[in-house]
Symmetry: C2
Subunit: 453 residues, 2 copies
Amino acid sequence: MQGLDASVPVGVGDERTYQVEPLKVALLGCGVVGTEVARLLTSQAEELTARVGAPLELTGIAVRRLGRDRGDLGVDPALLTTDADALVARADVVVEVIGGIEPARALILRAMEHGAGVVTANKALLAEDGPTLFEAAAKHGVDLYYEASVAGAIPLLRPLRESMAGDRVTRVLGIVNGTTNYVLDKMDSTGAGFAEAVEQAQALGYAEADPTADVEGFDAAAKAAILASLAFHTRVSAADVHREGITEVSAADVRAAQQQGCVVKLLAICERVTGADGGDAVSVRVHPAMLPLTHPLAGVREAYNAVYVEAEAAGQLMFYGPGAGGRPTASAVLGDVVAVARHRVTGGRGPGESAYADLPLLPMRDVRTRYHVRLDVADRPGVLAQVAGVFAKHGVSIETVQQRQDDAGRAVLVVVTHTAPDAALSATVDELGELDIVDSVAGVLRVEGGDDR
Amino acid sequence: MQGLDASVPVGVGDERTYQVEPLKVALLGCGVVGTEVARLLTSQAEELTARVGAPLELTGIAVRRLGRDRGDLGVDPALLTTDADALVARADVVVEVIGGIEPARALILRAMEHGAGVVTANKALLAEDGPTLFEAAAKHGVDLYYEASVAGAIPLLRPLRESMAGDRVTRVLGIVNGTTNYVLDKMDSTGAGFAEAVEQAQALGYAEADPTADVEGFDAAAKAAILASLAFHTRVSAADVHREGITEVSAADVRAAQQQGCVVKLLAICERVTGADGGDAVSVRVHPAMLPLTHPLAGVREAYNAVYVEAEAAGQLMFYGPGAGGRPTASAVLGDVVAVARHRVTGGRGPGESAYADLPLLPMRDVRTRYHVRLDVADRPGVLAQVAGVFAKHGVSIETVQQRQDDAGRAVLVVVTHTAPDAALSATVDELGELDIVDSVAGVLRVEGGDDR
């Protein structure tokens, strides 16, 4: 924009001079991410012009109300407006970083009607009502990009929907919520309990005052829905995702995982599985699980995110990076802005929704999982036989059993199963709890990251 | 292709029926990768049709000679031809997996003249003469995709040139050669020497009978050139890359690294640095280096590849996966085929070469690095003072010194420096070798993965 000689070719892949007419970028929302998007649009104007093939002009920033102190945005305060409707109607590219369902959805749809390409970081909206957005994008022939909606700055959606377009994804395991990973990592490294670790996370800004959306797995479930939709070319909404949070994970669970050579992680799991009719189906779920230390995801510490992908031809891949934060998220948003803006200059469009496979969702009860079960038991002969009998009755095969004493000298039985339908495992645990010789079911966690499906 | 009802919309992002006229795909080369590409094109025909929006027809496979037993390709042997020239002239998409400079270059250029989009896995050609290909692609208005040329199946180039297009990359550290990573990993885990580890790698098929291209760093240098070009929007060829292989890495070096809490890796390093004029410059180099165990790349075992990227806004990212092999590489090739084919159906083109930044290359002698130096020294007072004096004379600041005895009871001095110009470090080592009190310079390795630039 500034200081670029319009007559000089800038090498975006062909030899003509770049377009001088700027593309109008409208920014909806000016929170942590919006502020950074505005800053990058301005501070990297020259590089962005070269990469897009035309200057990008930040034409306005829609905010709920004017007059709030917004620090040094590095942009003209006159750009701020409360009239988002008017703003989107005159933009070439609309960047939505408001979050939530409304008014984000209405503004995105309005922008598309006016022919603007849209970049959004809105995982909640995509996971709740993605099809409405995708259909509008298709109808109006505009781009809809949303790299920042999952795992912040990690380039993940583009690889999934483009680089792996010639392959068949079989499994996605993601650590996609930084707050819960921070909490579980602290529990692992310090031995803290859940409540204490959450307090630490809150004190350091890694957790909200009300951490429900994170610790109950809602945030991860929205991201799991987006990942599964892309990986399996099938519409999956947040409501389709089986969801369990980490509030029940105890310090004892974490210690038990360590004794097993494992670490506890909240995983977003998307799997291509065999359905009831023998054809392909999809399982999408979010729950805490034990993961062997040898698994690439086990080393993901603090608030980092990582997504592990298995595909038939590509094999095992992993993508790792910061999952949140204003600047990382803004980086992902701007990558999308460049893609959408380039399409305005050179023609063409990015891939739209791909839901042709339309695979059925396998209910959680039918999904094959592995359980790690810790039982406080009576210290007398015959206990193992009784316990093993309950597993056998439900058709659950046991992989390992350890009998040992806990710190208080009580007898503990630790059972790790082979895979079995989740409902059978769950019923086994219920029945174990009713045995006279079982004082209590001290802990139950699924085990992931193995190969035995 | 087979069994798809042409009248049904297949959801590639708009609502029209897909194109029935197939796109002609020509495959040049039928080695390990080519065979898998042919197999995937055929076995996943239906899914590829849905993703592209038109059927892909494998129209021919150019081979050097007919009649060789090629196992079960799953394709009609009548597709094989020795007339590559005629084949590329009638293709919409040309896939080049021959490798080497000629005839690959001539065929790619001929394909582009005929208006075909090109997908290649040819790192040697791209690193030696990329600009010729990029200019031809721009001139003829066709796509040139090459995801498979670096780090096999790991989606890496697309994230770098698209997802991070709104950010400023500051550093790329890559383990991009599986053979050398396997060799170094075996040396690390078993204590084997270089020659023994190479033999193991050869026995298991991880190293060629003549491992020169890998162990001398030529393969990694070609990939470093491609990565640096993309990361810094600057033309970098293999000849610009400072290259050192791993043939001099000894079992003692690996042990010394372990004692330092490090592991030895062959790294492709691309950095945005400060040039002689105070402006931005680029350093591109391949050499073995000690990496702290806490660095995300340190855990990359066996023949796996991984690339670590630092960007101003995104922060620290890592991409991990299989770096070679027929099926993983074919996965990357097919992702590109889908992208190029989609552009034929929906219009538009992918990003071309982006070399607008045109940053100068900093010569190795001026690059700031850190050295780890092991010296066998005389066991008498005053040694440390003399050694420290040599470092000081060359303006090299010492971070740590350890004096200890080696397994044979001789005195050893281990020095780790702060960063200094590589030439100053190199001159320091030369002068140390001439000191009377230094019996020998037992080992020198650079240290990477720190923050102190």
